[in-house]
């Protein structure tokens, strides 16, 4: 399991290599890369986080997914600092023997990270700085994993 908070970009190929190299029991790696979307008048965002709680939370989310989906490994990398439209923000990797587990876990991981990991986005726009509001849809995306004890 690897969780990391960093300002610099990540290389997904390197991260997949890091979890797959030297073993031959992984049948599939699911992944998600989140990117900053552009909008009129929006030129950058700053990501703030809660050092310590962030790592603790990401480790807990990763461990939960490993148990729930029988994963072979998980990588969670989140960038902080100032990012521009088109920049990557977050990387989720879930490695499993079979693809269904890898893909379901990828969705689980990003859904939980969105609501539970202590990161906050402030957007810098032509009319000033605005803290991004949490979205109900993110909370709902997380809740779907709690309504049923197993994913199916």
């Amino acid at each position: 399991m690897l969780v990391r908070v960093q300002t610099e970009p990540f290389d997904i190929n390197d991260e997949i290599k890091a979890i797959t190299q030297g073993r031959d029991d992984i049948g599939g790696v699911g992944s998600f890369v989140g990117l900053v979307r552009g909008a009129p008048g929006f030129y950058s965002l700053t990501l703030e986080h809660y050092p310590g709680m962030t790592e603790k939370t990401l480790e807990h989310i990763a461990a939960t997914a490993i148990t729930r989906f029988g994963l072979l490994d998980v990588t969670l990398i989140h960038r902080v600092g100032t990012l521009k439209p088109g920049d990557s923000i977050v990387l989720v990797l879930a490695a499993a023997s079979h693809r269904a587990d890898a893909l379901a876990a990828t969705e689980f991981l990003i859904d939980w990270l969105k609501t539970d990991a202590p990161f906050w986005k402030q957007e810098h726009t032509t009319t000033g700085a605005i803290w991004v509001e949490a979205r109900d849809s993110d909370e709902k995306a997380k809740q779907k994993w709690q309504d049923c004890s197993n994913h199916d």
Binding site: Y50, P118, W120, W131, E133, A134
Partner: protein, 81 residues
């Protein structure tokens, strides 16, 4: 240690005007809800239901016990990912 360390993040930090403070835990303050009510007198944003709390880096609710030496945090709903 007879104090708690209190951290504020994002919009809460900006509204309160500081990112952290040290507080001697007054008698009768035994859980997060009680501490929050006390702090809300000085920092009205803490009265907002949307503001979440953590004790020792774990999400906490009003009835989560607190004790001297704890690290307490208040912040808006997270918007990472």
């Amino acid at each position: 240690m007879t104090t708690v360390r209190i951290l504020y993040f994002a919009a809460a930090r900006e509204k309160i005007g500081q990112s952290e403070e040290e507080l001697a835990l007054p008698p009768g303050i035994a859980n997060l809800g009680q501490l929050r009510a006390l702090l809300a007198r000085r920092h009205p944003i803490l009265a907002q239901a949307s503001i979440r709390g953590a004790v020792n880096q774990v999400f906490a609710t009003a009835d989560t016990p607190i004790a001297a030496g704890d690290e307490i945090a208040f912040f808006p709903p997270t918007t990472g990912g």
